[in-house]
């Protein structure tokens, strides 16, 4: 009996895992009026800062940006310092005189085709990385890669979270100077709800690199609007296939523009990973 049960279970398990299937289907999607997409950031690093303008396209069209030229863009801070941006490539505009300062609020105003789009964000104070360390990940899960030829690391980023403020973080990872992509195509984000005021050893898992590689971790302290955007952008990137009803990320831009206007302070450190 036990033997029968054992093999029966195997059978069921196989029907669960293997017979469940994925296939590409033809699915007609509606088309929508193109909408203006604005992506711009002010950081604590010296300028110039870039703003890119494009429009949305049909879902099944070839990827690529439909640049929007000829817009008038002004970024100003609350002290009245205004900088009119210069379009140096189609759809890419840069600042000339502005320097990002922490604890200041910046406002972008985009004038295009007779419509005005605007948004504001505060550039938060900087939080410094104390140290980085690494640990090789043992787990080789399904789809997780791992193993000797594709090792994965947990990088621990240690920093002191300021106790008096509510802080939001984004971790950017470069491996030998190249942004990490591939397995994880979403953003590493954290709020200090769980660790306010503590020295944190924050784990950044699934970093794909080879022994001897230089891994750069940038700790971005991001404004609340920037946090809201990236937190919900992560939902959009995961496709909303199973969880919640999919939606457009929460933007701080007015007049139905897509994208965001963000601000963040950056501190970076390097680490050479070993065996």
């Amino acid at each position: 009996m036990q033997k029968i049960l054992k093999y029966s279970w195997l059978f069921i398990f196989i029907s669960f895992t293997l017979v469940s299937c994925e296939k590409v289907i033809d699915l007609d999607l509606n088309t929508a009026e193109p909408r203006l997409v604005i992506e711009g950031n002010i950081t604590s690093n010296p300028g110039p800062y870039l703003v890119s303008l494009s429009t949305s396209g049909d879902y099944y069209t070839t990827h690529g940006i439909n640049p929007v030229s000829g817009a008038n863009i002004i970024i100003s801070n609350e002290l009245g310092h205004a900088d009119t941006l210069f379009e140096f490539k189609p759809g890419i505009y840069h600042t000339s005189t502005l320097t990002g300062e922490t604890n200041r609020t910046y406002t972008i105003v985009v004038d295009y085709n007779g419509k005005e789009y605007s948004g504001s964000e505060t550039l938060p104070h900087k939080v410094y990385i104390d140290s980085l360390s690494y640990e090789k990940m043992e787990f080789t899960g399904p789809g997780g890669g791992g193993g000797e030829d594709k090792p994965r690391y947990s990088i621990y980023c240690t920093f002191l979270d300021p106790i008096e403020t509510v802080d939001y973080y984004r971790f950017d990872i470069l491996v030998n100077g190249i942004p990490m992509g591939g397995f994880r195509s979403y953003y590493y984000l954290a709020s200090d709800q769980l660790f306010n005021g503590h020295i944190v050893q924050y784990p950044i898992r699934w970093v794909e690199s080879q022994p001897g590689d230089t891994v750069t971790i940038s700790l971005h302290t991001i404004g609340f609007n920037t946090w809201e955007y990236f937190r919900t952008l992560n939902d959009a990137l995961s496709g909303g296939g199973m969880g919640s009803t999919p939606y457009n990320p929460i933007t701080n831009l007015s007049n139905n523009a897509l994208g965001y206007f963000g601000a963040y302070a950056i501190d970076s450190k390097n680490l050479v990973v070993g065996q």
Binding site: L5, F13, V37, Y59, Q193, G241, N248
Partner: protein
């Protein structure tokens, strides 16, 4: 009131009362009909198998009938009050037997009840199901007006209502999460169940607290005649039930358990899985004892839990319910039941990694007192009245860290509330053609301290904060809920029915996902969240054919819903103290037509059900304030169920279902941010999943039957023609051209055969 006094004081009337039971087990039969030929009318037994009829002095022929049992006719000379306990014998069908006339009655035509689904446990046993796990909820979704949440999604929808708008009662105790294993199975182990009734409309006034439906499930009392052991071995679970008399015909008990063993088997097959937890269990227990002629006490409980986990991660959830009941017969016309009920649902997530060691817990807990009276005033009036009070404790969530972890604890304040109801209803017969059931429920909800209560502006910023002490009133709501249904009998075979009901719902399940999840949180109505309200209007035509061998019905309904609750887009739901600021409120409407054609008796039984309906929601903050299809909006929903007894030993069954794909949101455009392609959404639920259809087959083979031992094999094939039904559709970069996106459909099950062996001795 004068009418009532007259009825009670009438001197030349006498009462016949008693209990109707199954002769083999002593189980009380719920809803057995009692028909008095001379009166051309009668009544039915209540939830405890008790009946009472008051009639003028005289000679009567009384027929007791219950589907699947031999009818019994009693001849009495009613010249004083009489007690008759009736034991009915199960109808043993033999091959080639001619169907006995009169065993099916036309109660469905005569009664005012409409929008009610009754399920026979024996019928459920024959219907093929996934992995051979009998499931009352999956079977209920084969009836018109009831739709399933979908494969692996759990829950069920009744006439366009949300899954949290069903009041699921197990021996009167609410079951807050009726799903096991992400909805593949329900918490109801049918071995322990006696009676199942789902009210889609015409909800009696003694029930309240949910908008859409009441699923009233009664556990078996246990065999009061002899000890029996029954059970089954299946591919993924086994079941065992022990029942027997405490004192013969005085009291009995039942204990029934079920456990899945996927993890044990996995561990045996593959060592890597040996420390993986992946199982659920259910334990039902009940005992009853009769104290004298007038009193009976029942105690029942349910304990169930799902456990998933590995070495450093654990996730478990489950329900616990308990019911203590006391039946008292004041006199042979006034029946009373007093209940103390406990119910809780909670989940727990444990993470223990080197630098993150914490536990998250959340749940809801209820203490409930309920007093119901039934006054069998006459053969024409059956009055019910009573009240109940529930004390709810809501635990929205807390996180506690352990060891040397540098994590803050997060504790979100518990919330407390009293939910109470007072009701009066009457079932009245006017002449020989009209049956009325009317009543009112006055429901009240009081959120009380302790706690800090915030008020928020439209952007979710706190504009007011106030501290409340223990039991201090925070917010109160009082809502009258009228209920009415009637039938007008056209002739012995057909009737017209109509009903109206108003329902209020004070507690709300907040779900960020489009399907039910164990981590969904119940929240009380408050100054921010208003009670949900609904009105439902329905009319129907009921017609039986061929001496009630076939029954059919057409029902049309319209329902409007107010103050529905949903999360706003991108709500931050986990351990959020200000979760109320993440909510949006709106209205809904649902209307449809339901057709049912059913063959109730004979070697071949089964039904065809069809529902054509529309369900829409309107929220100011969603879809630019325009009406949109609710997820559960299913234009067409068809079920065909057939069961055929080939011989005494062999029976086969088949079900086929078809429904319109769920309303879902899909992108209508794309754009690029930071090098990533981002989908652009324009309207809520503007697309449809592919239509769903599936055929399941079942075969039951009875083994050699002796007086002492019975066994049977149950074989089933789920999804017999291997339809690839879509579980989800996602988008990815095309493998042939990574510059273009393509749609990918994921399906869960192909053909799933299974076998179960059942026994009884």
């Amino acid at each position: 009131m004068t009418l009532l006094a007259q009825l009670l004081l009438a001197q030349d009337k006498f009462t016949i009362s008693g209990h109707v039971k199954d002769a083999s087990s002593g189980e009380g039969l719920i809803g057995a009909t009692i028909y008095i030929e001379e009166m051309k009318g009668g009544g039915a037994t209540n939830d405890y198998g008790f009946y009472s009829l008051t009639m003028p002095k005289g000679k009567y022929h009384i027929r007791y009938s219950y589907i699947g049992f031999e009818s019994t006719v009693l001849t009495i000379d009613l010249n004083k009050n009489q007690v008759h306990d009736i034991e009915m014998k199960i109808l043993e069908s033999t091959l080639g037997e001619v169907v006995i006339k009169g065993q099916a009655d036309n109660e469905n035509i005569r009664s005012a009840e409409m929008g009610v689904v009754k399920m026979d446990i024996k019928e459920i046993e024959k219907i093929p199901v996934l992995f051979g796990e009998q499931d009352i909820i999956k079977t209920l979704t084969l009836m018109p007006g009831v739709s399933s949440g979908g494969e692996g999604k759990g829950g069920f929808y009744v006439r366009g209502g949300n899954t949290d708008q069903n009041l699921i009662l197990l021996d009167e105790a609410p079951v807050y999460n009726a799903n096991h294993l992400m909805g593949f199975f329900s918490v109801f182990n049918s071995d322990a169940l006696k009676d199942i009734k789902l009210y889609k409309a015409g909800i009696p006034a003694q029930f309240g607290g949910r908008l859409s439906s009441v699923l009233d499930v009664h556990m078996k009392d246990g065999n009061s005649k002899k000890y029996t052991v029954s059970g089954g071995l299946g591919l993924i679970s086994s079941r065992l039930t022990i029942e027997g008399p405490i004192v013969k015909d005085q009291g009995s008990f039942i204990i029934s358990g079920r456990r899945t063993y996927a993890d044990i088997l996995l561990g045996m097959v593959d060592k890597d899985f040996s420390d993986v937890d992946l199982f659920f269990y259910d334990l039902n227990a009940k005992a009853n004892y009769r104290i004298g002629e007038k009193d009976k006490v029942f105690i029942s409980g349910y304990f169930g839990r799902d456990k998933l986990g590995t070495e450093n991660f654990g996730f478990n959830w489950g329900n616990t319910t308990g019911t203590l009941r006391w039946n008292h017969i004041f006199n042979n016309r006034l029946f009373s039941n007093t209940s103390f009920i406990y119910s809780s649902y909670d989940y727990e997530i444990n993470v223990n990694r080197s630098n993150s060691d914490f536990r998250i817990t959340s749940g809801i807990e209820d203490y409930h007192f309920k007093q119901d009276f039934t006054l069998f005033a006459s053969t024409n009036n059956n009055i019910k009245f009573g009240f109940d009070v529930i004390y709810h404790i809501f635990k929205p969530g807390e996180l506690k860290s352990f060891g040397d972890t540098e994590l803050n604890n997060i504790i979100i304040d518990k919330k407390h509330a009293f939910e109470s109801g007072l009701y009066l209803s009457n079932e009245q017969k006017i002449g020989s053609r009209i049956m009325l059931e009317y009543g009112i429920r006055l429901s009240m909800f009081n959120e009380v301290g302790p706690g800090t209560i915030n008020q928020y502006d439209v952007n979710g910023n706190i504009i007011d904060e106030k501290e409340y002490s223990d039991l201090e009133l925070i917010q109160s709501y009082l809502i009258p809920e009228p209920r009415f249904s009637m039938s007008y009998v056209l002739n012995e075979q057909s009737s017209l029915k109509a009903s109206y009901q108003r329902n209020a719902q004070y507690i709300h399940l907040l779900s960020a996902a489009t399907s039910d999840n164990p981590t969904d949180v119940w929240m009380p109505s408050s100054s921010v969240i208003k009670p949900e309200k609904a009105n439902q209007y329905s009319v129907g035509y009921f017609r039986n054919f061929m001496d009630n061998m076939f029954e059919s019905s057409i029902e049309v309904y319209y329902k409007d819903m107010y103050d529905l609750v949903d999360y706003q887009d991108g709500a931050d739901v986990l351990l959020n103290e200000h979760v109320e600021a993440e909510l949006v409120f709106g209205n809904g409407r649902s209307y449809g037509i339901e057709l049912l054609f059913k063959k109730r008796i004979g070697k071949f039984t089964g039904w065809v059900g069809y529902t054509l309906s529309k369900t829409e929601h309107k929220f100011d903050a969603i879809n630019n304030g325009a009406w949109f299809s609710a997820r559960q909006d299913r234009t067409d929903d068809i079920s065909i169920v057939g069961m055929y007894d080939i011989s005494n030993k062999l029976s086969v069954s088949a079900t086929w279902i078809y429904y319109t794909g769920d309303a879902v949101t899909m992108p209508s455009g794309q754009y690029t941010i930071d090098g990533n392609v981002i989908p652009y959404y324009t309207e809520r639920n503007g697309y449809r999943m592919p239509n769903y259809h599936r055929l399941d087959l079942g075969l039951t083979l009875k083994g050699k039957q002796t007086k002492k031992f019975q066994s049977s094999w149950n074989f089933s094939i789920y999804n017999a023609y291997a339809r690839e039904n879509a579980y989800s559709i996602s988008f990815q970069e095309s493998e042939t051209n990574p510059e273009v996106m393509e749609a990918v459909q994921f399906s869960l099950f192909s053909i799933v055969p299974s076998v179960t062996w059942n026994f009884k001795f």
